[in-house]
Amino acid sequence: MVKFYQHTFSFEHAWDNVTYAFWLRYPNPFASHVIGCDVIDRHVDPDTGVLRTTRLIHKQGVMPRWGRHLIKNADAYIVEESEVDPKTQTMVTRTKNLNHVRVMQVEETLTFTVHPENPKWTQVKTEARIVSEMRWGLTGRVENFGITKFMDNSVRARKGMAHILERLRHNAALAGTPVAAAATTGAPLDC
């Protein structure tokens, strides 16, 4: 069984700053379950000028009681592939879980573009696919849990990004520099 989810929202921050905040989004107070984040591969495509990055994110989650026999180990690894095209001002990120895939596979795509109505804002389109191959009549329950959890997580991820963006804005205001240059002057931040 497969479930789909789609959502569009905006950040009241410029595209440059939002894509920059994406790299800095861990740690943040809304993602305490993220315990590690690594860059596996990164290069700029010489033909297109697009920055391609692969990151591996290590999360530690809490399973509901009924799911604990399905997943003994609460460690989850997420692979995140992304492309940033500075010419078209488009960033696309795709994430999926690496383990526990038989219980549930969640694939999420985020597309960050300049807001069509306000060039100082950023529009983010979320598309997700949640698949469970569980037998024993649990599939529906797993997927419903998955979609609920996914929506909760999306809200938390947005809050986390908003938190980082505010911090960047604050640091920039203190230093009197443009937001995207504030990382070197403000509090340390990173992936």
Binding site: Y20, W23, D41, T54, H58, A181, L189
Partner: protein, 89 residues
């Protein structure tokens, strides 16, 4: 700052991250894509690859990355393996 999955790589990772953050905001977004942090990245990656092997995450990751996440892009990453192209599930 967030940690590396391999504890011993955290220091070099954070040095690399600081370099990347400056490069991304001060160069890349302004149209200059020339490399700036390669040395740090190679050192970091060297440490990380050992960790991934130790934690047996390397094969898991290679399997997941066989599928091209951006099928519209013709050029693919040098790290994708070509040896297993005949073995598809």
């Amino acid at each position: 700052m967030s940690s590396s999955i391999g504890e011993k790589c955290t220091k070099i990772k954070q040095e690399y991250d600081s370099c990347f953050n400056s490069w991304y905001s001060e160069r890349f977004l302004k149209g200059d894509a020339s490399p700036m942090c390669d040395d740090l990245f190679f050192k970091y990656k060297d440490c990380l690859l050992k960790t991934l092997e130790e934690k047996k995450l390397d094969t898991l990751l290679a399997d997941a990355r066989k599928e091209n996440p951006f099928p519209n892009t013709s050029t693919s990453s040098s790290s994708s393996s070509s040896t297993e192209s005949g073995k598809k599930e």
